[in-house]
């Protein structure tokens, strides 16, 4: 059994955002594996640990620096990694074609990717990849278990959650709460440096962008920042209620 786990290198959520030359500045900022993807790597490793002979392959698509996210996945325990290199900002529908081609050539049974991307805010990669492979999908999973070829679990849907069963091959998207991703230990970080990381140019996959980014702007909504000292709770509460009534006009 082979599991493909898609990882992306993104701006750390704790970093502030600013615009430089028409895109969000990344130079000199802390970049990390998208936290939503960590749950997929962890889940893949747990499934492998439960069955002999399974292999976990981490895949990233992006500039050369995406290697760092792959090294993190390898340090967590993935067996090998593939980096499809490009400097281009590809939209998710285009990226899904690459993921599907890799899944075919590597004879993958199960694909994990994050439920939402921390840079594009996209939910689409899992479903788009599943469609290209003509596989079923389970999105926003919060619990998973695998028996032979049957994957069962729980996932979030409109207005609640569902338990489900699906036969592999399938695509699964992950989120916080699915598991607690492990921290790479120092020996594993050292070991990861020797693991196979194959670089492939994007041109091998014949895809082109379907969307063009023409404007990027940081949201700055001016806030009133009328902050009251609450040492005298009664007076502060009275003042705040008055502001909400008469300044903001949001309560009657």
């Amino acid at each position: 059994m082979r599991i493909l786990t898609v990882v992306r290198q993104v701006l750390d959520a704790e970093e502030s955002v600013s615009i430089q030359d028409g895109s969000v500045a990344l130079d000199g900022r802390k970049l990390v594996m998208d936290t939503m993807d960590e749950y997929g790597v962890e889940e893949a490793l747990r499934l492998r640990e439960a069955r002999a002979g399974a292999e976990v392959i981490a895949l990233a698509l992006g500039p050369a620096r995406s290697e760092e996210a792959l090294r993190s996945a390898l340090a967590m325990g993935a067996d090998r990694a593939i980096l499809v290199e490009t400097e281009a900002a590809l939209d998710v529908i285009a990226v899904s074609s690459v993921v599907a081609q890799v899944a075919r050539s590597e004879q993958i049974d199960l694909i994990f990717c994050g439920g939402q991307q921390a840079d594009w805010d996209s939910h689409a990669l899992g479903a788009a990849t599943a469609e290209r492979l003509e596989w079923p999908q389970a999105t926003w999973t919060s619990a998973l278990s695998l028996q032979d070829k049957t994957l069962t679990g729980k996932h979030d849907v409109d207005g609640g959650s569902e338990s489900f069963a699906v036969t592999l091959p399938a695509v699964v998207t992950t989120q916080q709460g699915l598991n607690e991703p492990r921290y790479p230990t120092l020996p594993n970080i050292m070991k990861a440096k020797k693991k196979e990381l194959r670089r492939v140019p994007l041109t091998d996959y014949g895809v082109s962008a379907k969307l063009r980014i023409v404007g990027v702007e940081v949201q700055v909504k001016e806030r009133r920042k009328n902050i009251i000292d609450g040492k005298d709770a009664g007076a502060a509460a009275a003042k705040l209620v008055d502001l909400l009534r008469h300044d903001a006009g949001v309560i009657g």
Binding site: A13, E14, V17, V24, V92, I93, S96, G115, A118, W120, D121, H123, A124, L125, A127, A128, A130, E131, P136, Q137, A138, T139, W140, T152, V157, D158, G159, G160, S161, E162, S163, F164, V166, Q175, Q176, G177, K210, L211, R212, V214, G215, V216, E217, Q219, K221, R223, K225, N226, I227, I228, G230, A233, G234, A236, A237, L240, V241, L244, A248, V250
Partner: protein, 316 residues
């Protein structure tokens, strides 16, 4: 034509459908606006939908009794192809964002997710959407004969009915069998006003100290104001509150007139779910909490004293 997939619940057309209708009317592309109703026993939904559009296509079949991403995507792509739709609008709900990528792949079309504005510029579709956990607004352009768009809930005003009711037609569909077997369902319990539709939201974080603290502070203030109740991921993970109340990246996105954050420090993942609120109010003992950086009003103080005092004040 512009094809718009109707969202509804409990036999009623959802607010998101009316918002998408506004988006469709404003794009500035030629051709009729066609509303598509998928489901089983949906005659009354189709009737309500007809008030808003030129025409309504109805696929009323037992196989459509339950939503499935593959079935929905197959149905929408088929109709879009046969009707030569140039724009396909799908709700930015969890399900809409789950099956829309399949529609885009089937149609070999670009996908724009969670659009907050939408217009045509000489044949190119131009849209804005939020990125970087809702901190950045990005404008994108999509070309080609057809484009698939999910529309962010709350981004457009709800449409008024059109002058005359549109014609209704039955849609013929060849549908695949669902492969994701649903073996159980847990519905969110909502005794209160819906979190995503409320004008006022009172939300609590770790600063309320305990599940009892949440009840005494957050729920009591919400009851006094007629507000919905929200929570941070930290206290949902701790089991104090149900997931249905979680606001943020992995929970709900809200955009009320006022968001009152009680004992919430303001992690970026939480802020991404509420930073578009008209007014943000923060009550927290830590003056350096990030929440104060985006607050319109706030009190630096002990929530256990401030909130009861606010409730007393509101009762006056």
């Amino acid at each position: 034509m512009i094809l718009l997939v109707v969202e509804y619940s409990n036999g009623k057309v959802s607010k998101s459908t009316l918002e998408m209708t506004t988006a469709a009317r404003g794009i500035g592309r030629e051709g009729p606006i066609t509303l598509l109703v998928l489901g089983s026993g949906v005659a009354s939904v189709a009737e309500q939908a007809a008030l808003y559009a030129d025409q309504v296509l109805v696929a009323d079949k037992p196989e459509l009794a339950q939503y499935d991403p593959e079935v929905w995507a197959a149905a929408v792509a088929q109709i879009a192809r046969e009707g030569e739709a140039h724009t396909v609008l799908i709700g930015g709900s969890r399900s809409g964002r789950e099956y829309s990528p399949r529609v885009a792949v089937k149609l070999d079309a670009p996908l724009i997710e969670d659009a907050i504005s939408l217009s045509d510029r000489s044949g190119t579709l131009v849209a804005a959407h939020y990125t970087f956990l809702s901190r950045v607004t990005e404008t994108v352009e999509a070309e080609g004969p057809v484009c698939v768009v999910t529309v962010k809930p709350g981004a457009f005003a709800a449409a008024q009915p059109a002058g005359a009711a549109g014609e209704q037609y039955d849609a013929e569909l060849a549908l695949p069998k669902p492969r994701l077997q649903v073996t159980g369902k847990t519905a969110e319990k909502t005794e209160r006003i819906s979190l995503t539709e409320a004008d006022l939201v009172v939300s609590g974080g770790r600063g309320v100290d305990s599940p009892e603290g949440f009840k005494q502070l957050v729920e009591a203030l919400a009851d006094q104001l007629g507000a919905a109740v929200g929570a941070t991921r930290a206290i949902v993970d701790a089991g104090w509150r149900p997931y249905s109340e979680q606001v943020g990246q992995t929970g709900k996105t809200v955009q009320p007139k006022a968001y009152i954050a009680v004992g919430i420090s303001g992690a970026v993942q939480h802020l991404s779910g509420m930073n578009k609120s008209k007014f943000i109010v923060a009550i927290n003992k830590d003056a350096n909490a990030p929440i104060f950086k985006i607050a319109d009003y706030g009190i630096v103080g002990d929530v256990h004293q401030i909130i009861p005092a606010m409730i007393t004040e509101l009762r006056k």
